[in-house]
Symmetry: C3
Subunit: 281 residues, 3 copies
């Protein structure tokens, strides 16, 4: 039975001008059979939480046992550590210890083993730069793992999972008729993904039926609403008129807010992290 080629996925904030290609070249030089899957390279520069969000929702759809490289790394060249994580599903995550990888690890069966990438035999043999660990450390280590010429245990010294840096992700609270959460991600359609689950929303407002009237507010740090609008719950975009807004459960199982065939985030001017309140109307 043919197994297919070893898969390495790659997510960065490198943009589209060659740095990601260099990583691909390094991987293929070490593992010529690798099937490289680009997850995204247009993550907002230095936006660790955005990268973590995309890794969390994307990687569960990759074949189990893949290697994943994530590089959103404002601390490159400082004391932040390069790490490798093995997950319950058998995948391996490679990247900086800045919180980028942990939400995805949780979505892949949880962390089973963590190591510091300090085995320099697996790095690129040339002198290591202090600004491009994607090329010099993360890609070659992933290449060796994918090629099967180094087991996970050889990538470096064991670390305790509890030592890893965790992102401070937004919290969600519910009370009668009111859900308080925050914007977890704004996608390329301008759809506003919140940190709340359908259970959270149901706990606040009751049954999630098509057409339930709601009020959505985006809040300033001091808690006053910078934007407030009447909307409704809908199970599909087609439920509302073109350009009208709705609260819905997105394809990743999160509560989201969008304009049907419009760009809600651009209309309202919303960025990741903004507090949002959804209430019964």
């Amino acid at each position: 039975m043919e197994r297919g080629r070893p898969i390495i996925t790659l997510l960065t904030d490198f943009g589209l001008d060659g740095a990601a290609a260099i990583c691909r070249g390094v991987m293929l030089g070490i593992c010529p059979d690798a099937q490289i899957v680009d997850v995204a390279h247009s993550i907002r520069k230095y936006a660790i939480a955005d990268g973590a969000f995309i890794l969390r929702i994307s990687l569960p759809y990759m074949p189990p046992g893949s290697s994943h490289v994530g590089v959103v790394d404002p601390g490159v060249g400082t004391e932040r550590r390069p790490i490798g994580i093995r997950t319950g599903r058998g995948d391996v995550l490679i990247g900086p210890d800045n919180g980028l990888l942990l939400p995805a690890a949780d979505a892949l069966g949880g962390v089973t083993e963590t190591r510091l990438l300090d085995n320099r035999d697996l790095w690129l043999p040339s002198e290591t730069s202090s600004t491009f660990h994607g090329r010099d450390i993360f890609s070659p280590v992933a290449g060796h793992l994918a090629a099967g010429d180094a087991p996970f245990e050889e990538i470096g010294t064991p670390l305790a999972a509890g030592e890893l840096v965790r992102l401070d992700l937004p919290h969600t609270r519910t009370r009668r008729g009111v859900l308080d959460t925050a914007v977890a991600y704004v996608d390329s359609f301008g759809n506003i993904r919140t940190a709340a689950t359908p259970d959270d929303l149901q706990a606040a407002i009751g049954a999630l039926d098509d057409g339930v009237p709601l009020v959505v507010e985006f809040l300033a740090p001091d808690g006053h609403a910078t934007h407030r609008e009447a909307t409704q719950f809908g199970r599909t975009f087609g439920r509302v008129a073109r350009g009208a807004s709705l609260v819905y459960v997105d394809s990743d199982g999160d509560v989201a807010f969008a304009d049907n065939q419009g760009n809600a985030a651009a209309r309202i001017g919303i960025v990741t992290g903004t507090p949002v309140r959804i209430s019964s109307a």
Copy 2:
């Protein structure tokens, strides 16, 4: 004789933040040998005609017998149907029944068989979302077809080709000295591709010789010209000075209008669908 890996192409309006990668992961999970070719993911959001244009000009250059997934799908989750089309050349097209796929099918030898994608055994086994059929239906069906573990006949119930939704594409009319057509697409160089063929242009203005003086007008819905300029026919960009405009036959065999090393569409402010008139000067 080695046949190469089965090819699946992918065109979407998903942008660059991970949704296309999820589709790739789903395909590779089902067909580990697939060679995935990204056609484009930066199609204007919801612009079915733009997606249809790019599919029509791109897919004929893919190896015959490929599977093609197209997702520009403003009606996702509504009554619009998910479909598969088999073409004369042996390719298969998978996507929404909204007109996106038919121009490409015509360019691949015409529609030979059409089916509704209602065999849920070929869908992603988890619960199907109402907003991401690219992930839940189109990619897994294409993966099963490419892997050869489902023949085309198994994807679902037969449909009559005449039942499919067709786009209302721009018409072209010619009279003595005048060609009336419309903008079919604005490419990333700002070159303005029209819906007219060289035969149309020749019928209007006579022989297409380098340097023939022409007038190009872009028209408002009421027929008055919002922009008018004197230009010339040229067989190559180098025919005119840098920054000067020309009417030419583009690499897809369509009549087009461009600035040599400039961006004509940005200069004039033109979008897809604008009526355009080309006349002898």
Copy 3:
């Protein structure tokens, strides 16, 4: 011993709307086993020097013996020649003779053989367009070379290396305390890469120690400074506060200027080719 699939890399200024995919389709039609690596497609339109920069820094990280296609080609359809270059490392470069390929050839062991692409048997069999040589000439020739069904000698008539068009790249001069160079590239982070090497900088200002105070000036063509700021040398971004600037040696071994977690080029308004002076403070 498995050798891996033949690699073809692809760099263009085509953007993201399908033209690069057409090239990929043509290559895979001729060489079904090809592993295509996209280097970049968002090179500034017609910016030959930008494309040459990215090829020079990227291609050395691709496996030796790869085929590389580069298309930034404002002169397509004019007298500029389509060429193939064999390099000391065994790689082949395919593209227009406009200076795009030579810096990369130098980085791959130098030019060992050059040929005009005039063997039409290796071109796409349909009529050749005058605006899309990437599809009609460069991609099919690279496909045949990668497939091994045409040796390099068959791509066309030999050319003397000295006949090739060379870019006029920026010069660097040093005197006591002053380095005069120019902006070679602005990357997607807004980091300003200069044409100077660390040796150049050391010759001007002495030892490159963390914290050495410097002055950076960007100059107008008449030599007066349009922007002047006090900064420092740093070996890592983390050396300076977030938002503060530094002069550093980038991951390609060039002297560069950046804001830590900011976009220096956007802040200052800098484009490729701008003269820059770095002086001891």
